[in-house]
Amino acid sequence: MSVKMSYSEAINDAVRQAMRKDENVILIGEDVAGGAEVDHLQDQGAWGGVFGVTKGIVEEFGRDRVIDTPIAEAGYMGAAVSAAATGLRPIAELMFNDFIGSCLDEVMNQAAKFHYMFGGKAKVPLTIRTIDGAGFNAAAQHSQSLYAIFTHIPGLKVVVPSNPYDMKGLLLQAIFDDDPVIVFEDKTLYSMKGEVGEGFYTIPFGKAEIKRKGSDLTIVGIGKQVFTAMKAADQLAKKGFEAEVIDPRTLSPLDEGTIIESVKKTGRLIIVDEAYPRCSAATDIAAIVGDKAFDYLDAPIKRVTAPHSPVPFSPALEKIYMPSPEKILAAFQTMVGDRVFTTV
């Protein structure tokens, strides 16, 4: 059975499912409940995060398990890491992924390395929920998509759900996974509706989804850029080219196999990623596919990404900053050469 809900509701549902199933699951972060110790509020009407994503959860589970923190990312993230190492399954919210600057150590040097440094004798079943994405005019410090940094770091798992169904299943997978996982929530997708499974279900990590079949071009879209890829595919279809669109769903682990199989068929790959272009998920996938599917490539792998620039505030600039179907088509144009593309 499935129900229609938003991306934001899917997160809320997943957190509740997890907290019902296992009393070791706690939710911790800034205003994840909101209004702690405000008498007239306890606990209805509480914010449930800046975007209301976790609204109502404190009512169901109480403030012992839904913990508002001071503005101290290093402090509460470190606490979550070790709460995980000592028997809880914390879901720690890092409000915006841009704030990782205040607690990278806890994620990179503690959570990611405990299992290894301690010879496999500790585990850190921590889930970090965090908001990423441009398109909201939130400017340079609230619009980044920093998943490449986390993908770079061994010991972390990195999840980039693009729709409500995936979000719920992947988030539940993350919460019950025994490794530290960071789940990216694109702020512009919160209101997006979709069919979501009822009850408890998980989606395994490292399994990409083929969103659209095609034989002329493979497009990998990261996070919400899957939709940009789908739009480009529609436009390409009108010109007679069938693009296969792939949503990797997790960047670490990465489902290389599905992407490579597709490229073996299509001979062409475009990666669409709104993150910064250097040392990015786009270069990562390009390098891997360029290596492993070399013999099958009919054209260079193209990356359609943000420019090497911070995210501008002005709506006029942010639009230009982002990947677009037009940019994808332009990239495809260079891959097939003028002649082929325009004659169709």
Partner: protein
């Protein structure tokens, strides 16, 4: 908690009083305007309004020159105005226009005008604290008598950067004034919940620096305490923590339902404890400014804010090429 004294009003010049009143009004009317325009959907992004806290920014900046630096927060419009930034350029920035102070690239959360010593609003809570130390360090190394003021919230006082910065300012005797705008909330969390300390200025004793808590809705209380702190800093006597108890009239950001606020407290704060009303009363009672002078400033500010809006609406959006300029000085 200190209050402003009658004598201080008597000692204030008319020009200073006018400047103060004008800046407070500019902030209030600017923020009210942004509030309305935001509701209409004409302003994009996240916006945090300073209305209600004017006495803090203005009471402190009244002691500063363009060569003194301030660091600010996500709630930065008030600091900008008090530090002398241009209203047209500010409003245009918030509108995302090419004529904005930052060419539309920064927006509300990153308004800055380094030429005025305003080192930028900041989207990262706690980030301004170390930045203020840096400006203080420059003053010390270059042996100027400039000071740096760090505005930060009660919520930010729980961030590690607060302590790192205060400790460094203390051991190096830097000319820095840490002005905490304690409005009782960090987003939807109360200060009482989030901070174990009773008073943020209590830390001053441990760091062995000057510290004070004043009524931040009392312009003169802020003005006097800030004056002393700035003086000490200029004389090389080191930093101060100045905690100003205040209230934010609007929500945390535009769009906030504010369910966590006590309605009665809010209404009372706005109706009876407003810093602008209190200043108006005080300057009238002490005969520092007349009703006419006050009205003249009111309408002058009204025109200025209307002008800023018109200017912004008339301004073009930045050229698409601007997306990738200013990333580096050279690359």
């Amino acid at each position: 908690m200190q209050a402003g004294t009658e004598t201080s009003y008597k000692e204030m010049t008319v020009d200073k009083a006018k400047w103060i009143y004008q800046k407070m009004q500019e902030i209030r009317q600017f923020e009210n305007a942004v509030h309305e325009i935001f509701e209409k959907g004409e302003i994009p992004g996240f916006v945090h309004l300073y209305a209600g806290e004017e006495a803090v920014a203005v009471g402190v900046c009244a002691h500063l020159t363009d060569d003194d630096k301030i660091t600010s927060t996500h709630r930065g419009h008030g600091h900008c105005i008090a530090k002398g930034c241009d209203l047209d350029g500010m409003m245009a920035e918030i509108f995302g226009r090419a004529t904005g102070l930052c060419k539309g690239k920064g927006g509300s959360m990153h308004i800055a005008d380094v030429s005025k010593g305003m080192l930028g609003a900041n989207g990262i809570v706690g980030a301004g604290l170390p930045l203020a130390i840096g400006a203080g360090l420059t003053a010390k190394v270059k042996k100027t008598d400039n000071v740096a003021v760090c505005f930060f919230g009660d919520g930010a006082s729980n961030h590690g950067t607060f302590h790192e910065a205060v400790n460094m300012a203390a051991i190096w005797k830097l000319p820095v004034i840490f002005v905490c705008e304690n409005n009782g909330f960090g987003e939807a969390s109360t200060f009482d919940y989030a901070a174990a300390a009773d008073r943020i200025s209590d830390f001053a004793k441990v760091y062995k620096i000057a510290g004070d808590t004043v009524d931040g809705r009392d312009l003169m209380a802020v003005y006097e305490a800030a004056g002393k702190a700035v003086d000490r800093a200029r004389k090389g006597e080191g930093p101060t923590i100045l905690e100003c108890l205040t209230y934010r009239d609007y929500g945390h950001f535009e769009g906030d339902t504010q369910t966590y606020k006590d309605k009665e407290v809010q209404e009372k704060a706005i109706a009876e404890d407003d810093c602008i009303l209190r200043f108006q009363n005080a300057v009238k009672n002490t005969k520092l400014l007349t009703d006419e002078e006050i009205s003249a400033i009111d309408s002058q500010v009204q025109d200025a804010v209307a002008h800023a809006i018109q200017f912004s609406e008339d301004s073009p959006f930045p050229d698409r090429s601007e997306t990738t300029t200013d990333v580096y000085v050279s690359y």
